[in-house]
């Protein structure tokens, strides 16, 4: 062996050591990310231990930690997500269908697409500022002082719509809807793109119109993908706090929206259902924030218990999304 070869071999040994070290650095980095997750979950569970009981789930908030519960937040979040879904699903899917199936590649379409990816990166608190001006105050077109109420009489009761909307649940839902709309549109677009063009061509060949093709062939095939995207977006909405604070969610509320605190009450007194969207509200996340800020030590346990409930709900949402995705993958294989 020449000197050069000996030197090369010596350096090679060091290079292999560096390579192995680097591999371990990467492994440890990945491991530490997983470790953070484990510690975070363990910490929350540890703090919540013993506090997550029926009293916590069925009681309203209280100044005394032992009596405080999450019921107002549970109802608030449920209502918020319900309305958010009602607004987002048709609008998001509709926009995606337009962009994928109808839109030609012109300037306006490109503008919408560019706009979507930028909207997805706007901080959620900015949406809150939009929400408080556009929905809560309605741009000051009707001043709050001389605001009025639009009453619509329905068979089961009267729908009283305050104008401007004020710090009500519906304003919160509108805000969350705008927040997750870009996410829903982008996910739905991807799902629609995954439907092979052959299906569309086959449908056109049978004499179907554009809309018939979309309605009966393309959309059903894309439903699993769209549903997955929507569920994930809704779970993001569920975890949001900042925009709700800006819109004006109440940090301390001891009643559910519309005073509707059991599902039975909806049947007994339908008026409460009609009142709920225009009532003040709180959410799980707002209640957690409020508890974190309390000086008494026990409230930290309540915050942990609330976080745990939120995490469990998110796991359920995500698991549903995964199940839908896996089922669809098994059933349809192009």
């Amino acid at each position: 062996m020449s000197d050069q070869q000996i030197e090369y071999a010596a350096i090679l040994k060091r290079r292999h050591r560096i390579s192995t070290c680097f591999e371990w650095v990467c492994r440890i980095a990945t491991g530490s990310a997983l470790l953070f997750l484990a510690v975070l979950l363990a910490g929350v569970i540890w703090q919540a231990w013993g506090w997550l009981d029926t009293q916590f789930l069925t009681g309203f908030d209280s100044r005394r930690p032992g009596k405080a519960g999450l019921l107002a937040g549970l109802w608030g979040t449920s209502w918020l997500i319900f309305f958010t879904a009602i607004f987002t699903v048709p609008m998001g899917v509709g926009a995606a269908v337009y962009l994928e199936e109808y839109a030609t590649d012109n300037r306006f379409t490109r503008l919408i697409k560019l706009n979507l990816s930028n909207l997805a990166g706007v901080p959620s608190i900015v949406y809150g500022m939009l929400g408080v001006t556009a929905f809560v105050r309605m741009f000051g077109m009707i001043s709050a002082a001389d605001g009025w109420t639009l009453a619509v009489s329905l068979g089961i009761g009267t729908l009283e719509i305050p104008l401007p909307l004020g710090r009500c649940l519906l304003a919160g839902s509108f805000t969350l809807s705008l927040l997750i709309l870009p996410v829903v549109i982008i996910a739905s677009q991807e799902a629609l793109r995954a439907v092979p063009p052959s299906i569309r061509h086959a449908s056109y060949a049978l004499g179907a119109t554009e809309w018939q093709t979309i309605r009966h062939q393309v959309l059903p095939a894309a439903v699993p993908g769209i549903a997955t995207g929507i569920i994930l977006a809704l779970s993001r909405a569920m975890g949001e706090t900042a925009p709700l604070i800006v819109v004006g969610a109440m940090s301390y509320v001891a009643f559910a929206p519309g005073n509707l605190d059991t599902p039975m009450a909806a049947v007994q007194d339908p008026q409460r259902v009609l009142d709920a969207p225009f009532d003040v509200f709180t959410s799980i996340t707002i209640q957690i924030t409020n508890w974190i800020e309390q000086p008494k030590e026990e409230f930290q346990n309540l915050a942990a218990a609330g976080s745990l409930v939120l995490l469990i709900l998110l796991v359920i949402f995500n698991a549903t999304a995964i199940v839908i995705r896996n089922r669809a993958q098994k059933k349809i294989s192009w």
Binding site: E7, Y8, A9, I11, L12, R14, R15, H16
Partner: protein, 304 residues
């Protein structure tokens, strides 16, 4: 690694052994009744290269290769002589590229592959557990079908190999870059723009850059996987001239689709068909007077 340990791994071949071929693919072996296919091959080799002896550089013995459960090479045994050009020809999917990639263990990178048999470089098994793959690949370089310049400057492309090997001396690096580019007949074209991006070179220049980059690591063997198939005729001619030059100092193995190319540049040719090494021999002899029916059919254009 799935190498079968055999005594051969330590049994170094006599370096002065005169090159001799004993190819026995299973099919041809069955057909010929184990009769040696070629006779008097050393003289042919002598005539072709004008040299007296050709020590064996790479010898493979009974190599099988699998992608998962799919066997793509069957019992390939082949000797590759030093400082000459050996061409692998055959229709696409015949296993010639896979076989080439076995010689510097490039197939290791692909998941789910395994092999049996031995690949000996100067008598030692390259699949032995003690072999350092990095060192092996430094000695057995490879040029690919698609030119693969790194998205760096021309200089950094050539200097990559020496740099990762630990060379820091700027003067030495300059010297290596210059000699490598000169050997690859690219120096005159790029000497004024060594710091511009290699991606801006033409296809033919990129391929010569890749050859220069391989030369810079100071290999003994250069494997070329259809190095000219993506190039125009003029660039192809330049690459072929280059190969002809390089064989004075390097052992070159080239996979090609183009039989004329094989005839032009190589001293020995091996014909692969459906994972089997059908025939190997002196290039001129193989093209003018093939022993096997399949070889004849292929080189006369009856299939492939």
């Amino acid at each position: 690694m799935n190498s079968t340990p055999t005594v051969l791994t330590t049994n170094a071949i006599d370096q002065s052994e005169v090159f001799r071929v004993d190819v026995t693919g299973p099919r041809s072996a069955a057909a010929q009744g184990q009769k040696p296919i070629t006779t008097a091959r050393p003289t042919v080799a002598k005539q072709a290269t004008g040299e007296v002896t050709h020590p064996v550089k790479i010898r493979t013995k009974n190599v099988d290769f699998f992608y998962g459960d799919n066997q793509v090479l069957f019992d390939v045994s082949l000797d590759i002589p030093e400082k000459s050009v050996t061409a692998f020809i055959g229709p696409s999917g015949c296993g010639k590229s896979t076989f080439l990639r076995m010689l510097n263990r490039m197939n290791d990178i692909i998941d789910g592959t395994r092999h049996t048999g031995d690949v000996l470089l100067e008598g030692s098994d390259v699949y032995d557990s003690s072999v350092d793959v990095v060192l092996l690949r430094k000695r057995v370089g490879m040029v690919f079908q698609k030119s693969t310049p790194f998205p760096k400057s021309i200089f950094d492309n050539i200097a990559y190999g020496p740099k990762v090997a630990g060379l820091r001396n700027k003067a030495k690096l300059n010297e290596i870059v210059e000699t490598s580019l000169k050997r690859a007949a690219l120096w005159d074209e790029v000497k004024d723009r060594l710091n511009s991006s290699a991606m801006a070179l033409s296809g033919g220049q990129q391929q010569r850059l890749c050859i220069a980059r391989t030369l810079a690591t100071d290999p003994d063997v250069i494997l070329m996987d259809e190095p000219a198939s993506a190039l125009d005729p003029a660039s192809t001619a330049r690459v072929e001239d280059l190969i002809f030059e390089l064989k004075k100092n390097y052992t070159i193995v080239i996979v090609t689709h183009n039989m004329q190319q094989a005839a032009r540049v190589s001293q020995r040719t091996a014909f692969f068909f459906q994972g089997v090494l059908v025939e190997t021999g002196d290039t001129r002899a193989l093209f003018t007077n093939p022993t096997e029916k399949q070889t004849e059919d292929y080189i006369t254009g009856r299939f492939g």
